[in-house]
Amino acid sequence: MSARQAALCVVAALVVGGAARAAPVDPGLKARVDGLLGSYRAVTVAEWRSLPAEAAPVLEAVARDRTALPTWRARALAALGVVQPAAAAPLVRGLATDVTAPVVLRSAAVDGAPGVLGAEARGVLVPLLRDREAAVRLRSARALAGSGAAGCRAVIAEARSRPVSDPVARTAASCEARLRENPARDR
């Protein structure tokens, strides 16, 4: 076998392997996921959990799809965090910090970070307190504040270099009040 033939075999194997991994999507399941993503009302955690595991790749594909609308992608990302958190983790990490992504999608990723990334979330969120988008700063501050005393302390520290009108400063004020009420609390 020549080097050229070997290379072709490798390419062919990759293509076949890729095709094997990407199992065809059940049209009924795809329609169900699309319908829930298009719901005017909020879809509950229980409703998303009732979907089979095969829904995860459908949701992941929507969340990754740069041609899909931002609120659709945000809902898909939130649902993926329920259906298969492990699959959502790299997306949450990537989208939260992707300055080219729509702000509403980045904000949704920031919201989901504590639940999906666990302790790792703080490392993702603290740098976002200095993001150029006010909405991302606000959501990051709120996500950190909601994750416990350590997160609150990070928000307070960042707020010292911010004007009082900044979203981070506003969240820091509520953090300070909360820490005064219950200084020992640290989740």
Partner: protein, 573 residues
């Protein structure tokens, strides 16, 4: 001549019409000129326009060749069919769950759009002048309902009254409909704990009595199918709310004949008061402590064929401005979508005014959380935002950057949320007026083509805005997620239904909410289930369907259009 057996059975047992020749004449299921012996003309939500059929029950079956099928209003004998044809005139072959293929009523035809002379005129209204709000505002405002030429009604201010008080008012001759707006005092109880959930303590006038006797009585109206009720009411907004007559099929028929002029009365009430009869379980069940400012708006002149509507769009956004919106191509496409949808209701959108809001309001509300619990709280951020609406005879839409949803999976973003059904039309500035719409998708125009697509941002925002306007003008969703029965709540007979047990796949059917031993998380109906072309499995193409999918066409039924055109905000054209 031999009469084919199948023809004989179908015509004799089911339709009773004659056959001729060698080909089965399946006859007609329409009620004109009349129905054959043993059949009755049924005209309801399952058979809008009327079909000759027979009631049945599983214990007393149907004649050979037909099957007893549970539809939303009852069980009916329907001819079996094998494929896309083989049904009498007026029916189509469709899926009916475990009954297999049967002849069903086709989905009622949606209304035809009226031709509007122009696209709406968009203008920049500047920045609204509102000082920064602190605390919880629950304004009681005056109506701007202006019976300017052409005179379409009058405003009857009935004053402040306690729950339980009966108040008289006069309806003039020629009255077609009326709206009762009840605005609660800020000291009123805003929420009701009922059946394990929290509901808004919505006010409603009940009973309403006319010269001929009781016109509407809330609890007893449950005895009838929604489309047969004088009014359909649902507790959706706390403290302040409106009810508009007519909002259902029976009401539209009454309205077309005109209401009896003379002395009418209403009794001031709210959900908490009605809970005495409903047994809600709230400690305040039956309370008469709350007080409401009550106004009746009358509407005369019959149901107009066409109407005109104006919109106010408040840009509560860090990136959008009224100055740019008037000429922005995405806004323009969005308006075209709204206009096209409302034209199907016979309504021409004539003007759209964009407003900016002060910086403090942008900072506070560019991202708004909404949930059922927050909607039940008059002091929630979402309801406080609605108080920014300036006076005027317009539907107020608040375009925000982001709608979050506490309680849903974290990160969820919504596309819109109504203030009330109907909105408190002509009373702008209350906690129940208008709706919020997310503008987050507006700039996503790369997926826009000739047809509606959920990848086209301006179309999606426009469709969402039109959907919320539909709620503001009095429309409910014809189908909700569980699709159990169109007659559970839909007051209009000509909107297609989507009955879970008839429309979903065999594998999912057992999970439908109306089946025995349904699971805790029942099967839901999706767009594809509800696009089968029958009255029982339709509606995905409608503006008020519970989902927005690529099957959406913004359709509205003729009756939906009539309800919308009788709202006080719609002027006859």
């Amino acid at each position: 001549m031999r009469i084919p057996l199948s023809c004989f059975l179908v015509s004799l047992a089911v339709l009773g019409t004659a056959c001729s020749g060698d080909v089965a004449d399946l006859g007609s299921a329409t009620c004109s000129p009349g129905c054959a012996s043993g059949l009755t003309c049924v005209d309801n939500a399952d058979f809008p326009g009327g079909v000759c059929t027979a009631s049945c029950s599983q214990s007393s079956g149907c004649a050979s060749g037909s099957t007893c099928v549970q539809l939303s209003t009852g069980e009916y004998c329907l001819p079996s069919c094998a494929s896309g044809n083989g049904c009498p005139t007026g029916l189509v072959c469709g899926t009916a769950g475990s009954a297999g293929q049967v002849c069903l009523a086709p989905a009622a035809a949606p209304a035809t759009a009226v031709s509007c002379p122009n696209q709406p005129a968009a203008s920049n209204g500047g920045t609204i002048d509102v000082t920064e709000m602190t605390g919880c505002l629950q304004p009681i405002v005056q109506s701007t309902y202006a019976p300017a030429p052409p005179a379409i009604g009058s405003t009857l201010a009935l004053g402040d009254h306690s729950v339980g008080e009966t108040v008289q008012f006069q309806l003039p001759a020629g009255t077609t409909g009326f709206t009762v707006v009840s605005q609660g005092q800020s000291t009123n109880v805003g929420q009701v704990h009922a059946f394990g959930s929290v509901f808004p303590n919505s006010p409603l006038p009940t009973p309403i009595t006319g010269p001929g006797g009781t016109f509407f009585d809330y609890p007893t109206s449950f005895d009838r199918a929604p489309s047969d009720r004088t009014l359909t009411w649902s507790p959706i907004s706390p403290v302040t709310a409106a009810v508009t007559f007519p909002n259902g099929t029976a009401g539209l028929k009454t309205a077309a004949q005109g209401l009896t002029p003379g002395n009418w009365s209403l009794t001031v009430s709210d959900l908490l008061h009605e809970c005495a009869a409903l047994g809600c379980g709230d400690p305040g069940d039956g309370s008469t402590a709350n007080r409401y400012d009550v106004t009746v708006l009358t509407r005369s002149g019959g149901i107009p064929d066409r109407g005109a509507l104006d919109l106010a769009i408040y840009l509560v956004s860090g990136s959008l401005t009224a100055a740019s919106a008037t000429n922005d191509p995405n806004f323009r496409r969005m308006l075209e979508r709204i206009s096209a949808d409302l034209a199907r209701a016979g309504i021409c959108v004539q003007s759209v005014t964009y407003y900016d809001v002060p910086a403090w309001a942008r900072s506070r509300w560019s991202s708004v959380p909404v949930s059922d619990d927050l909607a039940a709280d008059p002091c929630s951020e979402y309801r406080q935002l609605l108080t920014l609406a300036r006076p005027g005879n317009v539907v107020s839409l608040f375009f925000v950057d982001d709608i979050t949803s506490p309680g849903a999976p974290i990160g969820t973003r919504l596309v819109g949320y109504d203030g009330a059904i109907p909105g408190v039309s002509t009373f702008n500035g209350t906690t129940a007026g208008g709706a919020i719409v997310s503008s987050a998708d507006l700039s996503g125009a790369s997926g826009c083509g000739n047809d509606f697509s959920t990848r086209c941002g301006p179309d999606v925002v426009g469709e969402t805005a039109a959907h919320e306007v539909g709620h503001a003008l009095g429309l409910f969703h014809p189908t909700e997620a569980l699709g159990a029965s169109g007659e559970d709540f839909d007051p209009l007979t000509d909107t297609p239904q989507c009955l879970c047990a008839l429309c979903v796949s065999a594998a999912a059917r057992g999970g439908c909410a109306d089946q025995q031993n349904a699971p805790a998380q029942p099967t839901q109906v999706d767009g594809s289930d509800c696009a089968q072309g029958t009255q029982s499995c339709g509606g995905a193409d409608y503006l008020m369907f519970w989902q927005l999918t690529d099957l959406s066409r913004g359709n509205l039924s003729p009756q939906e259009g009539q309800v919308m055109r009788l709202n006080p905000l719609v002027r006859p054209l």
